[in-house]
């Protein structure tokens, strides 16, 4: 024999963004902290060792911030002009930075004055970095050259002048202490081996290269330039693996997350896009206030820091994990209450009386089960249901309508309740998924409470608002119909050219949009 069937709450597929694991993960950051710097921020670099301080290069200063500090812990300001690309060494003890005047300076984190200064570039040096053997530094400058420096002796080891335009980005291989890569405005990315005199590989990006990145495995190279992010297979001799065009302005910075599963790109179009490195599809994206110049992600993805052209540093910290202490505080029943009677083995002569499984009904279901329609409607007009799950409210209204008791459930209410009902109807009647039911409800309410119109200012106001909302919706629908008419005309002209094939498409497309209109 059948038991009571609860009201079916229709699930409508959500339009727009789908909620995936990624969106949940990347949404798990607190509201950003904004720090104002003096000029546009060209580089943010995290210290690879705990406590993961980060160096921000802006204008003529390098600021070092602690993880949660709003004020710099330390400042290096021995630059006459702009400083560029302050980068930590692997052990987090040394910091190297280029400068507008062409000199490269090496700082000790604990000290203040530069330990070494490498002079040789004739123009500004926009990119510097340590090789993974820790004792050499590579650099690229606006004089089209890429150079390699020895730290102990502060001398130039080798200079490559293969690029034909400014060298603006570069990175070193983490696996091989001799390999580094530079990207240039001459649309190429070059891979250098310090043991050879010339570059070992040249990759044509097709746009001025703004940023390069090597995967931890060293096999894949990512270059950004123009609106494109391109991924190259280095081991296959620089074959293009995939080209991503998800930004609509120049991509300025690239970054990998700590697991290497996600690639982040920041762009002048104010977006940071996150790609899956398995499918190279955008899995999430962030919006920022102004154009993005630099981007960094702390180890364990704890913090995302974005530097922007207007000198604002945007810092987002991850929300702490939901602590489970709360539930632990609540005293649980003792273990023996759980096992009570459960470990009894029935003897052979015992009759086993099975306990019927209890199904838990929601409050409105219980009331509907006992045919208390007015109370059931009250139950779903509670604020938490009305506001957060309006589909439940509407489903119960539909059920009451099906049972033929909606009218009596709506009748006999006081001013406050009518006003509440009308507010709900006014707000939701324009949602296509609720429209059919709520129009019936609105009809019934006006029918029932017509005689008392004019007695309460509150209710009258709500009625006017309802009228207004419906009027607006009608206007909107008319506009839509006009657009449809125009599209019909357009399709009609198209079908003249290719009569048979497109006719079908037309009906197909149109009815589909109409369907959506009706059913969503």
């Amino acid at each position: 024999m059948a038991s009571y069937k609860p009201v079916v709450i229709p699930v409508v597929p959500k339009l727009g963004e789908k909620i995936t694991q990624d969106t949940l993960y990347w949404r798990g950051f607190k509201t950003p902290v904004q720090i104002k710097e003096f000029g546009s921020i060209n580089k943010i670099d995290f210290s690879p060792v705990s406590p993961y301080n980060y160096a921000v290069t802006a204008s003529s200063r390098i600021h070092i911030y602690g993880r949660y500090s709003q004020e710099p812990i330390k400042t290096f300001s021995r630059f006459r002009d702009a400083a560029y690309c302050a980068t930590y060494r692997d052990d987090g003890k040394l910091l190297v930075a280029g400068s507008e005047e062409g000199s490269i300076r090496l700082f000790d984190i604990s000290g203040r004055a530069p330990l070494r200064q490498f002079d040789g570039h004739t123009k500004a040096v926009h990119v510097v970095g340590f090789l993974s053997d820790k004792y050499r530094v590579f650099s690229g400058g606006d004089d089209y050259s890429s150079r390699l420096w020895d730290i102990p002796s502060a001398t130039e080891i080798v200079s490559y002048s293969e690029h034909s335009d400014y060298v603006r980005c570069g990175c070193a291989s983490k696996l091989n202490g001799d390999v580094f890569i530079t990207g240039s405005y001459d649309h190429t990315v070059k891979i250098f081996d310090t043991r050879t005199k010339r570059s070992v590989m040249t990759i044509e990006h097709g746009h001025p290269v703004e940023s390069v990145l090597l995967f931890p495995s060293g096999g894949l190279l990512v270059s950004a330039g123009g609106r494109y992010v391109k991924v190259w297979d280095v081991l296959k001799g620089g074959q293009l693996l995939v080209s991503l065009k998800n930004h609509h302005k120049t991509v300025t910075c690239l970054c990998l997350n700590s697991s290497g599963q996600r690639l982040l790109s920041g762009s002048l179009d104010r977006h940071v896009k996150i790609y899956s490195t398995a499918s190279y599809k955008v899995v999430h994206s962030f919006n920022y206030a102004t154009s993005i110049l630099s981007l960094a992600l702390s180890p364990e993805d704890e913090t995302i820091i974005v530097g922007m052209t207007n000198g604002v540093l945007n810092v987002k910290h991850r929300k702490p994990e939901e602590s489970k202490e709360k539930s632990q505080k609540k005293r649980q029943p003792a273990y023996r209450t759980y096992v009570k009677g459960r470990n009894y083995m029935p003897k052979q002569e015992d009759f086993f009386v099975s306990k019927p499984g209890r199904c838990i009904l929601r409050k409105y279901d219980k009331l509907l089960k006992s045919f208390q329609s007015s109370k059931a409607l009250d139950a779903v007009l509670e604020p938490h249901i009305r506001l957060y799950t309006p589909e439940v409210t509407v489903a119960v209204m539909r059920e009451l309508n099906r049972r033929g008791t909606l009218r009596s459930a709506l009748a006999g209410r006081d001013e406050k309740q009518i006003s509440l009902l009308l507010t709900f109807v006014t707000r939701r009647v324009i949602e296509p998924r609720f429209t059919p039911v709520l129009i019936t409800v609105a009809d019934m309410i006006t029918d029932i409470y017509q005689p008392v119109v004019g007695q309460s200012a509150l209710v009258d106001k709500q009625f006017l608002r309802l009228q207004e909302a419906i009027g607006r919706e009608i206007d909107y629908q008319e506009e839509l119909l006009e657009v449809l008419g125009m599209m019909d005309a357009l399709f009609a002209t198209l079908t003249e050219k290719r009569a048979t094939f497109l006719e079908e498409n037309k009906t197909n497309g149109l009815t589909k949009t109409l369907d959506r209109d009706m059913s969503i």
């Binding site: 024999m1 059948a2 038991s3 009571y4 069937k5 609860p6 009201v7 079916v8 229709p10 789908k18 995936t20 694991q21 509907l368 089960k369 059920e399 309508n401 099906r402 049972r403 033929g404 059919p436 019936t440 048979t500 079908e504 009906t507 197909n508 009815t511 589909k512 369907d515 009706m518 059913s519």
Partner: protein, 848 residues
């Protein structure tokens, strides 16, 4: 017996079970007569439920809900079933054919037939009057007036007697058996009709009439619907059309009567029943809730809700351990005394309206159609049982008159039965439509909802079909729905590549086609799935199912297309259509021309999935006729006129498990599948060439099941003991002889026939003594096999396996012992002689 192979129409699926109140047999009733030493089993196991069903009385086991016996003999609808008051193993049944029959229901023997000569509409057998029963009969000369009469049943010997002593007790009673009831110790009879209650006291010969106003001040409807009398006190309960129950007391005074009112039902009270001690009153109505009112306090009542459909009758066993409710949808629910649902007995459930048509589930070969409201029933034709009922609408059904509820209107299965598509609709001010697609889950062996599409069409869906390709590729699967909103839509499976999604498959619309803004009425795929035919008004359009190009159109003006189907196998180049102007047309798809047409008002067109035959049912002059034809030739293979008087709504070919052997070439189309059809009164019928007897044996074989079911420790013990005995009998030839004597038919008959039907002992004695004598050779050989055959019928009914075993033994042993050998030898020698003669003859001819 193959020669007279005439096509006969056979009812199947059982008739309505709610013809009359069902009756419980008494507890501890003597159990299967086949085991005389048999133990008396726990009382609940021995219980039977007897109910009228069409022309038969059906006997069900309460414990197993199995059909145990079918009492057939009446030639018209059975209207009343009552246990004989003085012998609880006997049963009276009355029928519209004017007879009362007395049965021994444990053995299924018809004891007596009393011919009354009136149409009998209800039967009441009372414990106080031994030889007379009360019946409701129509009044001579007046239509729609009925009277309660008592009939004296003569004790004359002989099977058929006429009972002509009919004396009228009450005039102007209601035709329904619910409207008359007999009171405590049969002192009075109460009968209601309209707004009048009349009580007649037998001893005082006094008739009291009470009447109510038709309408109360509050708008209640006071019309009586049923009446029941308290078994111990002077109290009458009456049910009313507005849901009230009134308890009348003190009604032996004309003026000072009192009544109290109980009110819970919101609609007509359908039936009332007092428990045996009168401590509680059961009432049932349209709400399908059984209400138990306790007599002590007025307000205390218990409910058993959601019984499925409106309650027609309520009856209680004489010791109140069980009660049962008969429902309007052809179902009986057995309920324990503590108002716990126990069992249901159900055959083909009668929906209010069958809209889905007859569909065959390819997986179980079950017939699928509307069942309970919002459910789909899977009905097994072989066992005459409902396999299961699938809840499609998944909404609480409110049993209330005048409500628009969602109803199932279309059903389609994919070729392998893997997908099921259903359409439900609810029409109020605007139409609510839902298309649901169900996937068969192998693990749980049931259908699981996969996709729900609300408002797939703007208007009603008129037809729906899957592309029936037998390949197992899923991507070739598509569903077409045709709607009154002038389009047909093609739905295909979409695979969601996202691994985190809940389900990977879902359905979505692929193509929308229309033709000159005509309403799409039918759709049908060709056998290979390459062509789709959709009928729009008067026109049939044929579409290529891969590119969705319109290939060609056919029409046969001025009639609108009613049915279309493609030919199969060798006839796959033909398209058949029936128009509502009475034409059956066959178009050739290769030449795009009309091949032939016939002037027939076809209402049902059904192709056989396993052959090229197509069955068409026409409706002309209030008679349905069946035509079976091949599309390739305009001459029908088989014509069966006057199939039945009712309009046939739907038909379906159900594949047979084993191809049947059919003698006549005319009926070869019945070889591989069987044709079922449903009339507009929801009678399921089939056509068969087999004579009646063969079919009936099938149903009687079912009885064997019942016996083997209840196993108690004692029966196990006994069974073991017997098993050993029979084992022993195999080993020692001497014992066989002994057994043979024991089981001689006369002795068996003596032992197994119920004592109350046996003739007097003096008559039986010589037979018994004779049977104990050691028989001489010839006699036993001649007679025994003959009688064994008779016996075996009974044995089958009683279905005691041990007995069967010994009996076969007997048959084996008899010819060997006795005269068998001599005749055998004779025939052999004769044969030899004959052979010799033949040889000579043949050689002689060949030489010549």
């Amino acid at each position: 017996m193959v020669a007279p192979a005439a096509l006969r129409v056979v009812r199947c699926g059982g008739s309505a079970l709610h013809g009359a109140r069902a009756v419980f047999s008494l507890a501890g009733g003597r159990r299967a007569p086949s085991d005389p030493a048999g133990p008396s089993r726990p009382s609940s196991l021995c219980r039977f439920l007897l109910c009228a069903s069409g022309d038969f009385v059906k006997m069900y086991s309460v414990a197993t809900e199995e059909l145990v016996r079918l009492l057939r003999g009446h030639s018209d609808l059975v209207t009343g079933v009552q246990l004989a008051p003085h012998n609880h193993l006997q049963l009276y049944s009355c029928s519209l054919d004017g007879t009362i029959k007395l049965w021994d229901f444990t053995d299924g023997i018809l004891i007596k037939t009393f011919t009354i000569g009136y149409k009998l509409l209800a039967l009441y057998a009372l414990p106080t009057s031994e030889d007379s029963v009360f019946v409701i009969i129509p009044k001579r000369g007046e239509r729609d007036t009925f009277q309660l009469a008592s009939v004296k049943l003569t004790k004359a010997a002989g099977q058929d007697t006429e009972a002509k002593e009919v004396s009228v007790v009450l005039e102007g009673v209601d035709v329904s058996p619910k409207c008359t009831a007999f009171g405590r110790e049969c002192e009075y009879v109460a009968s209601v009709k309209g707004t009048n209650l009349q009580v007649y006291f037998f001893k005082r010969k006094q008739l009291n009439r009470f009447s109510l106003r038709a309408k109360t001040a509050k708008g209640g409807n006071n019309v009586f619907t049923c009446v029941a009398c308290h078994p111990q006190e002077d109290c009458i309960a009456t049910g009313h059309a507005d849901g009230k129950i009134r308890l009348w007391r003190n009604f032996n005074h004309k003026k000072e009567y009192t009544y109290s009112t109980l009110h819970w039902h919101h609609d007509r009270v359908m039936d009332l029943a007092f428990s045996a001690e009168g401590t509680s009153l059961l009432s049932g109505g349209v709400e399908s809730v059984l209400v138990q009112w306790h007599s002590g306090s007025d307000c205390k009542k218990d409910f058993l809700p959601r019984l499925g459909s409106a309650i027609e009758y309520v009856s209680i066993s004489s010791d109140s351990t069980f009660c049962c409710t008969s429902h309007t949808d052809n179902r009986i629910t057995i309920i324990n005394s503590n108002l716990r649902f126990s069992k249901t007995i159900q055959g083909l459930i009668k929906a209010r309206e069958v809209k889905t048509g007859l569909v065959v589930d390819p997986r179980t070969k079950a017939l699928v159609l509307n069942g309970e409201p919002g459910h789909l029933q899977f009905y097994c034709l072989q066992t005459d049982r409902q396999l299961y009922s699938l809840d499609i609408v998944q909404q609480e059904y409110i049993h209330q008159a005048g409500l628009n509820q969602s109803d199932l209107v279309r059903v389609a299965f994919s070729a392998q039965g893997k997908w099921l598509a259903t359409v439900e609709e609810r029409k109020e001010t605007d139409l609510e439509l839902q298309l649901k697609l169900w996937f068969f889950d192998e693990k749980t062996q049931s259908f699981k909802l996969n996709t729900r599409i609300s408002m797939p069409h703007e208007d009603r869906i008129t037809a729906m079909c899957f592309r029936d390709t037998d390949e197992l590729e899923d991507d070739s699967l598509m569903l077409v729905t045709a709607g009154r909103d002038c389009v047909f839509k093609v739905w295909v499976i979409l695979e969601d590549t996202d691994p985190e999604a809940q389900q990977s498959l879902s359905w979505s619309c692929d193509f929308v086609g229309s033709y000159h803004n005509y309403q799409a009425t039918n759709c049908c795929f060709s056998e290979d799935g390459s062509l789709l035919a959709v009928s729009f008004g008067e026109t049939v359009t044929v579409w290529d199912s891969s590119t969705w190009d319109l290939k060609c159109t056919f029409c046969h003006p001025p009639g609108k297309i009613r049915n279309i189907c493609f030919g199969r196998l060798t006839c796959s180049k033909y398209l058949i259509g029936a128009t509502d102007h009475g034409f059956l047309c066959c178009w050739n798809l290769l030449s795009c021309a009309l091949e032939w047409s016939a002037h027939l008002n076809i209402i049902v067109l059904q192709p056989d999935p396993l052959s090229e035959h197509i069955a068409a049912v026409s409706w002309l002059l209030k008679e349905s006729s069946l035509f079976v034809f091949k599309p390739s030739e305009p001459r029908p293979i088989c014509i069966q006129r006057k199939l039945c008087k009712e309009k046939i709504q739907f038909a379906a070919f159900v594949p047979r498990d084993v191809p049947e052997t059919i003698g006549s070439e005319k009926y070869l189309w019945l070889r591989r599948s069987q044709l079922f059809f449903l009339t507009d009164r929801q009678e399921l019928m089939t056509v068969s060439t087999k004579p009646l007897e063969e079919r009936l044996t099938l149903s009687s074989k079912q009885l064997a099941v019942e016996e083997s079911l209840p196993v108690t420790a004692f029966s196990l013990l006994l069974g073991k003991h017997r098993h050993q005995q029979s084992q022993g009998s195999v080993d020692f030839g001497k014992v066989i002889h002994h057994h043979h004597e024991q089981d001689s038919p006369a002795v068996k008959e003596l032992l197994h026939t119920p004592a109350h039907v046996l003739p007097s002992a003096s008559f039986l004695c010589p037979i018994f003594i004779n049977s104990l004598l050691i028989s001489k050779e010839n006699k036993s050989a001649e007679e025994v096999p003959d009688e064994v055959e008779m016996e075996s019928e009974e044995a089958e009914d009683d279905s005691d396996e041990e007995n069967n075993v010994t009996e076969t033994k007997q048959e084996d042993t008899v010819p060997i012992e006795s005269l068998g050998e001599t005749t055998y030898k004779l025939s052999k020698s004769e044969e030899k002689e004959l052979r010799k003669i033949r040889k000579v003859d043949y050689s002689w001819i060949s030489v010549f």
